[in-house]
Amino acid sequence: MELYIKGINTISPVGSFDNIDNLPEIKATEEGLKYYSCIEPLAYKEIINPVLIRRMSRAMKIGIASALFCLKDAKLEMPDAIITGTGLGCVEDSDKFLVSLIENEEKMLNPTPFIQSTHNTISSQIALMLKCHGYNSTYAGRGACFETGILDASMLISDGEASNVLVGAYDELIQNQIKILYRLGQFRNNNTIKNISGNLPGEGAAFFVLSDKQSDTDYAKLVGMDIISSDNFLTENICDFLNKYSIELKNINSILLGSENFILENSKYSDVINIFPYSNLLWFKHLCGEYMTDSSFALWLASNILKTQNIPEKVIIKKNNTSALDNILIVNKISGNQTALFLLKK
């Protein structure tokens, strides 16, 4: 897997890479349940036809706008394939249709939210707007949905089926879902949380243009990705993974962890950090919150760090070296008992 990242974009709670020093605002529902919410672009209509915007849910707006901004960033008009990953898809439309079918007792239902609730709505809408007849797919639900999208893109490229693939992820957060997530115990409301925690429901969209052709304007090179399906032998699996790409543990400059906290001792990442005593320890969930496709935010952040050669203060947990910033390993424990690994090089 040697993929060059040509273009990137995110619509996220923290906004742009330049804005990372201003941590995202923590919002709260009427019951006081805390969450993160995307900073949405003010001018959607610059990138999406205003006639279409009116009918779109927020997931569609953030997903489609992020994809189109990403293509612009890559200076690419037509990708060869479009792949998306999403945890819960267009959850606002699913919720709307479900509520209306219950409240209206199955009568006189508006089909629009049903149509838009389909998980591949966004990959299809992007294709429709671009008139892109190429390969199109969507991975959904817990587990490696965004990561499978990356794997799929890498196979399309290595098989010669595509040279530029638009791949991304999106998840929106709605009020009913926040209530359910807290009731399920996935998050705990803690009033002591002031302004720095990743242990809150979040949301976001992030898109990438991946290609096999190298150029001076690339963000980074994605050298490898793997999905570990069990917590047992995680550190051994990480060692095997790095071995495959002939890179030694001590040569990993920085690891970007999916920890929801900056205290790593006795956390679910403590075994992982023990094998990387020389690497800088970074985190990202306090910038976007936690959602099923948050690996996509981590990939966006790591790509920016490598391109700008700048690690923003706010993402550093511990600086363990001052050597050249030439690679980043992302380790993110995702939903469904899987761990995603991404190895990026300058």
Partner: protein, 401 residues
């Protein structure tokens, strides 16, 4: 030359049978599984016919060999039954012996349970049993199936509406060809839900009678439920185990119609592209296809679009074709998996499966589906089409070995 992909196991549960054997009997006798639902709590129960698996969730749990106390979604239960059958059918005793993964697909996942939860939750946000919403996401059924077939390896979930399971099979083959896996269990599962019944009803594409694919009088689809999985194995893997090969997956292709979110283009551009890609990937010429298991939903739009694409792809000489959705109903995210199993059964049993309820030739087309079962036909290659919302079109080619 690409690595060969063999199918060594199949598993199915649908309105025409709870396993391969029962389904084959139904196909032979021309039995339809479409009728009035026993379990759906819908105001349309007596009005809208469906292809229901005639078992309660408790009975499905027993069939799946799992505890009835666990609050599993119906999608997961159907998936566990069919995936387990596929694994057994392939004679796999230790699933983790080779690098094995699961690619499962669904369109609405645990929606049947979410509906129960939302009934209480919409009235009071502190109400609703949490176990009924914990299975909402599409990945839950995949994780559940993986656990129940004792898989330690990779699993993932595809959700591209009605082409989902065909895309799962295609991804499985590509993972094996690229060396990421030796063996993949691929397919899909979808249960009947108020959500999908009402969704398609609000789109006014549900037939109040038995659906009539490719018939001039067709007026919509019948929704069905079920699951279908295949076991895909690399040639190396088959050589090592000396297993019986049921069929080979020789071609696949996916393309986007990019015409409309729900409707297909009148020219069937996306369908034509997907079929053409499948021919190309398998190095198969149109005249080599002996039977087409069409997408054939029975909606006015799909059948015209698909029929037009077939005429173009086959240069007017369209082989035998039928829509098995006339018997099973349209099983949405599972349909590509169920129809893969039916395509393989057609090859194995030298039988062209008929399309039920066809009477009147479509005016716009010069072709019509097979009305009666045809026996003793040497079927070397089957084309199976699956098309979904968003113009997501996938074609697979299964071949005799």
């Amino acid at each position: 030359m690409s690595k060969r992909i063999f199918i060594t196991g199949i598993g199915i549960v649908s309105s025409i049978g709870n396993n391969e054997k029962e389904v084959l009997e139904s196909l032979k006798s021309g039995r339809s599984g479409i009728g009035i639902s026993k379990t759906l709590q819908s105001i349309y129960r007596d009005e809208i016919p469906v292809g229901e698996v005639g078992l309660s969730n408790n009975e499905l749990s027993q069939l799946a060999g799992i505890s009835v106390n666990i609050s599993n979604s119906r999608t997961a239960l159907l998936g566990i039954i069919a995936a387990k059958e596929a694994v057994n059918n392939a004679g796999i005793s230790n699933i983790n012996e080779f690098k094995t993964g699961l690619i499962s697909s669904t369109s609405v996942g645990g929606m049947d349970k979410s509906e129960i939860f939302y009934k209480e939750f919409t009235k009071n946000k502190t109400k609703g049993r949490l176990r009924d919403i914990a299975t909402h996401d599409c990945g839950e059924s995949s994780q559940n199936i993986a656990k129940n077939i004792n898989l330690n390896g990779f699993y993932t979930t595809i959700s591209t509406a009605c082409s989902s399971a065909a895309n799962a099979i295609m991804l499985g083959a590509r993972l094996i060809r690229n060396g990421y896996a030796d063996r993949i269990i691929a397919g899909g599962s979808d249960a009947l839900s108020l959500f999908t019944i009402n969704g398609f009803n609000s789109l006014m594409i549900l037939d109040r009678n038995f659906c009539r694919p490719f018939d001039e009088t067709r007026s919509g689809l019948n929704i069905g439920e079920g699951a279908g999985y295949v076991v895909l194995e690399s040639e190396d893997c088959v050589n090592k185990t000396g297993k019986t090969v049921l069929a080979e997956l020789t071609g696949y292709g996916n393309a986007c119609d990019a015409f409309h979110q729900t409707a297909s283009s009148p020219e069937g551009d996306g369908a034509y592209l997907a079929i053409s890609k499948a021919f190309k990937s398998g190095n198969i010429k149109p005249e080599m296809i002996d039977y087409i298991n069409v997408h054939g939903t029975g909606t006015p739009n799909n059948d015209l679009s698909e029929g037009t694409a077939l005429l173009k792809a086959f240069g007017g000489k369209v082989p035998y074709f039928s829509s098995t959705k006339s018997a099973t109903g349209h099983t949405l995210g599972a349909s590509g998996g169920i129809e893969a199993v039916l395509s393989i059964l057609a090859i194995r049993n030298k039988m062209v499966i008929p399309s039920l309820n066809f009477k009147e030739q479509m005016k716009e087309l010069t072709i019509c589906p097979v009305k009666q079962k045809i026996d003793n036909v040497e079927i070397n290659h089957v084309l199976s089409n699956s098309f979904g919302f968003g113009g997501n079109n996938t074609s697979l080619i299964f071949s005799k070995v």
